[in-house]
């Protein structure tokens, strides 16, 4: 996923769409908005961005899982959780530097799935599909000819907390 921070206005449509599409319980969110301010007055700059699980290349939530419930799905190399295998030990919650996971009231670890049920049908994730400023772009980053790969190559961008070493796969265009 590639997100254009110059277009994101923090409207939270993506947050509402995710909650509705995935029927998330009250008070819990798989995505959220971050406002990051840098610099010193009067030369301040602010970046507004939508955040979620980074579906990392080397996901610590998968390696620490004692049952294999957290896994990398072969379809799209997404990081997912098999609810019926999760014991709710919360090691994956503690292992995520982005704090992207939470415990669903039914007991299993929950997080963004990139709406895999939609993606399998050729649709975009719900957050991407509702974005009014079209700041979010979804596609195959492993394919250099894909729209997201070409967009990422055309602009300067950054990932979140790269020093944490998990290989995040969501990129933010500056």
């Amino acid at each position: 996923m590639v997100i254009d921070t110059r277009r994101c206005v923090g409207c939270m449509d993506c947050v509402v769409a995710c909650k509705t599409e995935n029927r998330l319980p009250e008070g819990l969110n798989r995505d959220w908005i971050a406002y990051e301010t840098r610099g010193a007055f009067p030369t301040l700059s602010m970046e507004i961005r939508t955040e979620r699980c980074n579906h990392c290349d080397g996901p610590p939530c998968v390696s620490c899982c004692p049952t294999g419930a957290s896994h990398v799905e072969t379809f799209g190399t997404l990081v997912l959780v098999t609810h019926e295998m999760c014991i709710g030990c919360k090691a994956c919650l503690a292992s995520c530097p982005y704090d992207a996971r939470f415990v669903h009231p039914e007991g299993y670890a929950d997080k963004c799935t990139f709406c895999i049920h939609r993606v399998r049908e050729g649709l975009d994730p719900s957050c991407v599909s509702v974005c009014p400023t079209h700041c979010m772009h979804f596609g195959d980053l492993d394919d250099p000819a894909s729209g997201v790969s070409r967009l990422l190559a055309s602009r300067r961008g950054h990932a979140l907390l790269p020093a944490a070493g998990t290989g995040p796969r969501i990129f933010y265009l500056d």
């Binding site: 990051e36 014991i87 090691a91 919650l93 939470f102 415990v103 007991g107 299993y108 907390l161 944490a164």
Partner: protein, 321 residues
């Protein structure tokens, strides 16, 4: 300045991670304590001390079974999806310390049971003929007795280190990103075990021996704590910020007064005086050591959850509810 404001307010995650309550520190403490007792009783068996009826190694395996079961019950209470607990034992995930721990615990129970057979109490052999026959079979074979001793020492070390590795493998929490946590928790488990055996020892020489051993473990624990803090404070800004939780931050008093002062330094001084016969052996020092071991797990687990990679983004990390 870098200031980060998030609209997220997930339960147990915001404003700071707190997914593990009292259950995990209690489990880690009891696991470490049992590990220490396995190492000590295995060592006594290898030394042949189990032949003495007054040896504390008669008591420790029983206590180990009880405390470990209590710890595992605490761990079970912590799980959020309990009806799937059996999933732990349908797979082995080599990269997951928790999976290693689950399987180590499976081996620990038979090792403790075997150590009971090496020196069974009279009521057991009188009531259960099977136990009597098995115990006689073990006693007649010196090699088997030695194997039980070695298994208890080896599994005790594995269990003690695992309780620390469980946390240190979670690199997202900078306070836990230290290879010293495994040895620190092992030494703490050994010191709690030595303190307890010192407390219940029925022979004076054993009491003195255990007090001396405890002093050695406590001194080594102090060195391990020092190396743990130096390692963090000399690492990246993120790890420095994590160490600051114990060096001036909100956990400073609990750590330095409760864990280091009352849990290590005071009993070390008291027991040093006792082994030099300046004062009598009293339960005060051993009880302080055991309470200090529990406090260490609470401070490390709670402070570790508060440490995070985003801590250095700003002096003021705010999150909107």
């Amino acid at each position: 300045m870098r200031e980060l404001i998030l609209t997220r307010a997930n339960h147990q995650i915001d404003p700071v991670l707190h997914v593990w309550g009292w259950e995990i520190p209690v489990y880690l403490f009891l696991g470490g304590w049992v590990a220490g007792m396995m190492i000590l009783s295995g060592f006594f068996v290898l030394q042949g001390r189990h032949r003495e009826r007054r040896c504390s190694c008669v008591l420790t395996p029983w206590l180990g079974l009880a405390l470990l079961s209590l710890g595992m019950f605490a761990l079970f209470l912590d799980l959020e999806h309990r009806r799937y607990t059996w999933r732990l034992y349908t797979t082995f995930q080599a990269a997951s310390p928790m999976s290693w721990g689950a399987w180590i615990l499976v081996l620990v129970y038979p090792a403790l049971a075997a150590s009971i057979l090496v020196q069974p109490p009279e009521w057991l052999t009188e009531r259960f003929q099977v136990a009597d026959r098995m115990s006689a079979w073990v006693a007649a074979r010196e090699g088997v007795v030695r194997l039980v001793g070695v298994a208890n020492v080896a599994l005790g070390i594995a269990l003690g280190i695992y309780t620390g590795i469980l946390l240190s493998a979670l690199g997202a929490r900078p306070l836990w990103s230290s290879a010293m946590l495994g040895p620190l928790f092992l030494l703490s488990g050994l010191s709690s075990a030595a303190a307890f055996v010192h407390l219940v020892a029925r022979s004076e020489p054993e009491r003195v021996l255990l007090a001396r051993a405890d002093n050695l473990f406590l001194s080594a624990e102090l060195v391990a704590i020092l190396l743990f803090l130096i390692g963090l404070a000399s690492s990246t800004a993120v790890h420095e910020a994590a160490a600051a939780l114990l060096l001036g931050g909100p956990y400073t008093a609990a750590f330095w007064v409760g864990v280091v002062g009352l849990g290590i330094v005071v009993p070390l001084v008291v027991q040093s005086l006792a082994v030099r016969r300046r004062i009598h052996h009293t339960p005060v020092a051993p009880l302080l050591v055991i309470a200090g071991g529990l406090a260490l797990r609470f401070v490390i687990v709670y402070a570790g959850q508060e440490s995070r990679w985003t801590a250095v983004l700003s002096g003021l990390l705010a999150r909107l509810a």
